[in-house]
């Protein structure tokens, strides 16, 4: 029997669909930490990116963060998050993974928010000011809306990276779909490794397509 066939048997085995180690629970753990982290990262990076884009102060921070962020491997970020979590007495599993994914999600969201807001046509801002809008109104009613599609690209990049890297959480004793791959390696169970790999790939591609759909919704409609 081929390995793929074995993996399909593993994927369709009812025993793998219930309990803590079951597929539904692992998918839930994977999605839970991914959504939680991206939301926390967005809650920090979007306001900061908007402030920097609006005022033009702190541009250096954005450029440095996005360059450094690209050069640090996500595996290294996960590795560094482990001793930090231990130092802070946060234990294994969830928190080291959260720290790593959070650090990973910040640069794309921050950079895109900054680019989106800074890229708003200055004439439009002047016009809004001429219409009597204050800073806060300009930010809320003009810059935020025009920047939304670019911000969404950043959220999509961050989400796909976070879902992919959450797989590595299993190395620091976290949950999620990576468990099947890491545990499968440990006991040399090819069916489980392959089954886990297939599930992770499906989840990543689903995330990409889903966020792509949300991104299209955020694009401003050209109305007359």
């Amino acid at each position: 029997m081929g390995v793929v066939a074995e993996a399909l048997v593993w994927l369709t085995d009812a025993a793998n669909w219930s309990g803590t180690a079951g597929i539904p629970n692992r998918v839930y753990e994977h999605v839970r930490i991914s959504v939680f982290t991206v939301m926390c990262a967005a809650a920090l990076a979007i306001p900061v990116g908007m402030a920097i884009g609006h005022t033009g102060k702190g541009r250096f921070l954005v450029v440095t963060l996005s360059n450094v962020g690209r050069a640090i491997p996500s595996f290294a970020i996960l590795g560094l998050a482990l001793p930090i979590a231990i130092k802070l007495n946060l234990g294994l599993g969830f928190w080291p993974t959260f720290i790593a994914l959070f650090a990973l999600a910040i640069p794309p969201i921050l950079t895109n928010t900054y680019i989106g807001v800074a890229g708003v046509d200055r004439d439009l801002v002047e016009a809004a000011r001429g219409m009597g809008m204050g800073n806060r109104q300009i930010l809320r009613r003009l810059e935020m809306r025009l920047a939304a599609p670019v911000v969404m690209v950043g959220l999509r990049t961050a989400s796909v990276e976070v879902v992919a890297t959450a797989t590595l959480a299993a190395i620091v004793a976290g949950g999620g779909l990576g468990r099947y791959i890491i545990d499968g390696f440990a006991v040399r169970d090819d069916a489980r490794i392959l089954g886990g790999a297939i599930l992770v790939a499906i989840l990543a591609i689903f995330t990409e397509l889903f966020m792509g759909g949300v991104e299209r919704l955020a694009r401003p409609r050209t109305s007359s």
């Binding site: 390995v3 793929v4 993996a7 450094v68 690209r70 050069a71 640090i72 491997p73 996500s74 595996f75 290294a76 970020i77 996960l78 590795g79 560094l80 482990l82 001793p83 231990i86 130092k87 007495n89 796909v160 879902v163 992919a164 890297t165 797989t167 590595l168 190395i171 620091v172 990576g178 791959i181 890491i182 499968g184 390696f185 090819d190 490794i193 392959l194 886990g196 790999a197 297939i198 992770v200 790939a201 990543a204 591609i205 990409e208």
Partner: protein
């Protein structure tokens, strides 16, 4: 061997580095070798694929779709999938790493070819160049700066991904990160993370220097 990192364990023990200099050098060389090989094979695939996509425009969307699909699959899942066929070998690592170079490289080959001025093409044709001669003597040399820009991005990406191959028994500097995680010992994690970032920065600057030396005309453009 330190089995559990207490909260008092320092992040970094310099004496560990002194004791492991030989191994650090070996892993650094392996890291550079795995990266260089992946980029070289990636180019051998991407240049013909990019030229083909440039000449047959209808082939471009499916080629980028496929390369994008490979790029979206999380690295650990791809390596895990491949181990079922090619085991814990350098071949497995390279197939995975090469897959991740394709999207970046093919896009840049096509963009580079698109940037060749039509006048230059006309002149070459007028001088009696065959399309093969034109490709090698005119189009690819003129596309080179853009292709090299793609090589730089791909190299930084691959240096990061090599660390993940530590989970299939390779990994270069990533082996230190994995070792540190498994033993709760932060010093090798810091060494692996810092050196892989330094390697990425050095490779990026080296390739930038190479571009300046090989294509002096692209440097002059800045002042023109």
């Amino acid at each position: 061997m330190i089995l559990a990192q207490s909260t008092e364990e320092p992040f970094f023990r310099p004496e560990w580095v002194g004791r492991n200099l030989d191994r650090i050098w070996e892993q650094l060389v392996e890291h550079a070798y795995l990266t260089g090989l992946a980029i070289a094979i990636g180019l051998l695939i991407s240049i013909p694929a990019g030229v083909f996509a440039y000449r047959h425009r209808r082939a471009y969307p499916p080629i980028t779709w496929f390369a994008g699909f490979l790029y979206t699959i999380p690295s650990l899942a791809l390596f895990a999938f491949l181990t079922a066929y090619t085991g814990l070998t350098t071949l497995t690592a390279e197939i995975g790493l090469v897959s991740y170079t394709l999207l970046i490289l093919i896009r840049n080959v096509v963009a580079g070819l698109e940037g060749v001025p039509p006048d230059t093409r006309e002149a070459a044709r007028g001088m009696g160049y065959t399309s093969r001669q034109m490709l090698w003597r005119v189009e690819l040399p003129l596309a080179f700066p853009v292709i090299l820009a793609g090589i730089r991005v791909a190299t930084v990406t691959i240096i990061g991904l090599v660390t993940v191959t530590s989970l299939i028994g390779k990994g270069g500097l990533g082996a230190f990160i994995l070792q540190g995680i498994q033993r709760f010992f932060s010093t090798p994690i810091v060494v692996g993370a810092v050196l892989s970032v330094l390697l990425a920065v050095a490779a990026d600057l080296g390739l930038l220097g190479l571009q300046r030396v090989l294509t002096p005309w692209s440097r002059e453009k800045k002042w023109a």
